[in-house]
Amino acid sequence: MRIARRVTRAILAALALPAILLTLWWVLTADSESYYLPPLSEILAAVDDVWLHSDRLSADVLPSVLRLFGGFLLAVVIGVALGVAIGSSRRLRAFCEPVLEFLRAIPPPVLVPVLMLVAGIGDTMKVLVIVSGCVWPILLNTVEGVRAVDEVLVETARCYGVRGPSRLWNLVIRSASPQIVAGLRQGLSIGIILMVISEMFAASNGLGFSIIQFQRTFAVTEMWTGILLLGLLGFLLATLMRLFERRALNWYFGLRQAQRGGSR
């Protein structure tokens, strides 16, 4: 009984506020004459036509997501590889640090016009833009993580002949993984922003392109559906990231809790 009540309460807590907000939105906009704020009922009704009964899912959403994944994965590979190299060598770190400080401080969206020059307005440009934005948080967090590898663990690995690729994975990367994952999370949210911006700035398809087209043609209801879809995409990707984090860092959360004396 008690468990059932707790579950009920948890469900209520999770759904109450969203339900209230949506109802408010629905009711307050029901008779809306405002040009910018069409009734929620109209927006939801339009989702079907605009996204589901058209080729937009495959022609716009899919390319966006593929570019995001491509750019993100590339950034992960580059960021972790460089991060491990730089983090492992004090000299290399001293050599690179000022340049990295400068490069990561450049707001990534300004690279859209720069990369457009080099790579045109095709997929290559967009993937490059995403890579150039995602790579910094991943790289810098990896460097921090690799620097912080416990000295006793390093000696343990040496004693027991753990070296080469096994050392890289079992010692360095696993040990830095909490920081690496933090970098991935930051990188992903920047990646989504860049995916949208690169499409808004110059593109012929994509989610960002569709939304900006709707706005330019004053198709406000359609634009709203696009905004909702983009929000949903952001939420979904963040949820996937969290699931991944729970799995990959299971040990870390447990360890931290154990260190805190099991409180909370």
């Binding site: 807590a13 949210s189 983009l230």
Partner: protein, 275 residues
């Protein structure tokens, strides 16, 4: 084994440390010089066409020209204004909301799902809405900056409030401290480092969004200048502007970190005096 080290040994360690620090600085300067040299040599050697990446010297000339234009300085002021206003509002709102939600368990329980849903929504999704409602002016920039920066602050404040030691909280209660006194003397000091982390993160995100808004919406500022330079084919000028945004970013990071360190040290020294 450090306990065995005698005074000269410790002195030699300090000496080695300062020498190492000097070596680090030297390597850093060398690294930056290499980076600059590459920016000059790569386009000159034809490895990358100078049409895409002009040699550093030409970017330098463009930068000098920019510095002589009143419009450039106005653009910087515009960008900084949008950044600062948006950040200030987001920080104030984030701290207020964070403390209210964080210190009242029921609120925390019932807002968690909504926060988790709204936070990852990319603020750039609001661009078309901002354009329609506000056009290409400061308010558009502010909308994006505030939305993006607010969550950074709010989340950190929530972490901070959650991190309060239950024992300290209990102690305060047994000493009969009221809710306000508890927030002021127990919750706030614990949460402060988190708040400052939130401000630091928000400052960087706010700059990104301010410049993005200018670039995409066309609100006045550095981002807009970059867009204009790009569409006008003024490549060197565009790179010069990109470098300026980078310097601005470095300045924001350095300032935020300074502020954080200064406030924290001031805070802890204050606490020590009280104790």
């Amino acid at each position: 084994m450090t306990s065995t080290l005698t005074a000269p040994a410790r002195a030699s360690r300090a000496g080695a440390a300062s020498r190492a620090a000097r070596g680090t600085t030297l390597l850093g300067v060398l690294g930056f010089a290499t980076f600059l040299a590459l920016l000059e040599v790569v386009p000159r050697s034809g490895l990358v066409s100078p049409d895409y990446l002009p040699p550093l010297s030409r970017i330098g000339v463009a930068l000098a020209e920019l510095a002589g234009e009143a419009g450039f300085w106005t653009a910087i002021v515009d960008t900084v204004q949008g950044w600062f206003l948006g950040l200030a509002i987001a920080v104030a709102a984030g701290i207020a909301a964070g403390f209210v939600i964080g210190t009242i368990p029921v609120l925390r329980e019932f807002t968690a799902s909504t926060i988790e849903f709204l936070r990852p929504i990319p603020s750039v999704a609001l661009i078309p809405l901002a354009v329609l409602v506000f056009g290409s002016e400061l308010r558009s920039v502010l909308l994006l900056v505030i939305y993006a920066a607010f969550w950074q602050v709010l989340l950190q404040v929530l972490y901070g409030v959650q991190d309060v030691d239950p024992v300290a909280q209990e102690t305060a209660r047994t000493f009969g401290l009221h809710r306000w006194a508890r927030i002021r003397h127990v919750t706030w000091p614990t949460a402060l480092p988190y708040v400052l982390t939130g401000v630091r993160l928000a400052a960087a995100v706010a700059l990104i969004l301010a410049i993005t808004a200018e670039l995409i919406i066309g609100a006045p500022g550095l981002g807009n200048e970059i867009g204009v330079a790009q569409s006008g084919g003024a490549v060197a000028r565009m790179y010069a502007l990109v470098i300026v945004t980078g310097l601005l970013g470095v300045a924001v990071n350095v300032l935020a970190r300074r502020l954080e360190r200064w406030l924290l040290s001031w805070h802890s020294s204050l606490r020590r005096e009280v104790a």
